[in-house]
């Protein structure tokens, strides 16, 4: 129930953002609307942890933006210059992340950074297959993922 409640609050806030007014009537209305929606769709959903860990989130976001910019530049360079420097390949990265939420967030963040693309997760959720532009060394690549995104993300989520 707590998760639902959190979700509800979140949606109410998004509502306020959408409508562009954070007056309490509007948030209340947003709460009311999202309550209705949640009521409609609550069946068949897992519990999701909603504890927010503010500092970790901020640090994660900063890390993400850094990665985003860095890699974007790298790719840009590769795109603009005529010579190709890529060593692409698909790498199976074993997952520590367990829940659907964790895996999905991880995969998406990986995708959102240039040079990597989460292709799929194995059906048993043990492996994330990533297409990468620069695979100099498979193990190094895996470690980078695991120590970078996965560790930080899991810290926030768990």
């Amino acid at each position: 129930m707590r998760n639902l409640f959190l979700m509800n609050i979140l949606l109410a806030l998004i509502w306020a953002a959408l409508t562009g007014s954070f007056g309490y009537i509007n948030i209340g209305f947003g709460f009311f609307v999202s309550y209705g929606i949640l009521w409609v769709i609550t069946r068949g959903r897992d519990d999701v942890n909603y504890f927010s860990k503010a500092p970790q989130v901020v640090s994660f976001l900063l890390f993400f933006i850094k990665e985003l910019v860095k890699a974007n530049i790298q790719v840009a360079y590769d795109v603009i210059t005529p010579k190709d420097h890529m060593k692409p390949g698909i790498v199976a990265v074993p997952l520590e992340a367990k829940t659907a939420m964790e895996i999905t967030l991880l995969a998406n963040f990986i995708t959102m950074t240039p040079g990597t693309l989460s292709l799929d997760v194995s059906t048993d959720r043990k492996v994330l297959y990533i297409h990468a532009m620069y695979v100099e060394d498979k193990q190094a690549f895996i470690d980078e993922i695991k120590n970078g995104f996965e560790r930080r993300l899991l810290k926030i989520l768990r």
């Binding site: 998004i14 306020a16 953002a17 959408l18 562009g20 007014s21 985003l68 910019v69 890699a71 974007n72 790719v75 840009a76 590769d78 795109v79 603009i80 190709d84 890529m86 060593k87 692409p88 390949g89 698909i90 790498v91 199976a92 995969a107 998406n108 963040f109 990986i110 995708t111 959102m112 950074t113 240039p114 040079g115 990597t116 693309l117 989460s118 292709l119 799929d120 997760v121 194995s122 059906t123 048993d124 043990k126 492996v127 297959y129 297409h131 990468a132 532009m133 695979v135 498979k138």
Partner: protein, 126 residues
């Protein structure tokens, strides 16, 4: 000041979008193309939207811009994953200079399930 911000944001945004477009043309295989473009464009559009937020400099617009950026960040990787996976599934080849393919032989042709190691039964694998 506003104008400068607008110009900077929009220029950078347009630049990234242009790079993504060039990348899409130039990259040698499908996976690389997706890889390059999804985020470059996201970044580019994000910057342009920021320019808009700056330009209107109203709370109303800013929240909308944030919403759009969140929407893009939420959806773009999912789309990339879906199309990338489908492409692999239907056998779109990787660039011949690719160094490895851990996914080879993991998809089950009929069940569309994906194994986690290479020891799955031989039949029906892609």
């Amino acid at each position: 000041m506003t104008d400068i911000l607008i110009i900077v944001f929009s220029s950078l945004g347009a630049l990234f979008i242009l790079i993504a477009a060039v990348g899409l043309l130039k990259m040698p295989d499908f996976y690389l193309r997706v890889s390059v473009t999804t985020k470059a464009v996201t970044l580019g559009v994000g910057l342009i939207l920021s320019a808009a937020a700056v330009s209107f400099s109203s709370f109303n617009v800013t929240t909308r811009v944030i919403a759009i950026i969140i929407f893009i960040i939420l959806t773009a990787p999912v789309a990339a994953h879906m199309i990338g996976r489908a492409a692999y599934f239907i056998g779109i080849k990787m660039w011949d200079k690719s160094v490895m393919d851990d996914l080879e032989g993991k998809y089950h042709r009929n069940s569309h399930t994906l194994g986690s190691n290479a020891t799955d039964e031989e039949d029906n694998l892609l």
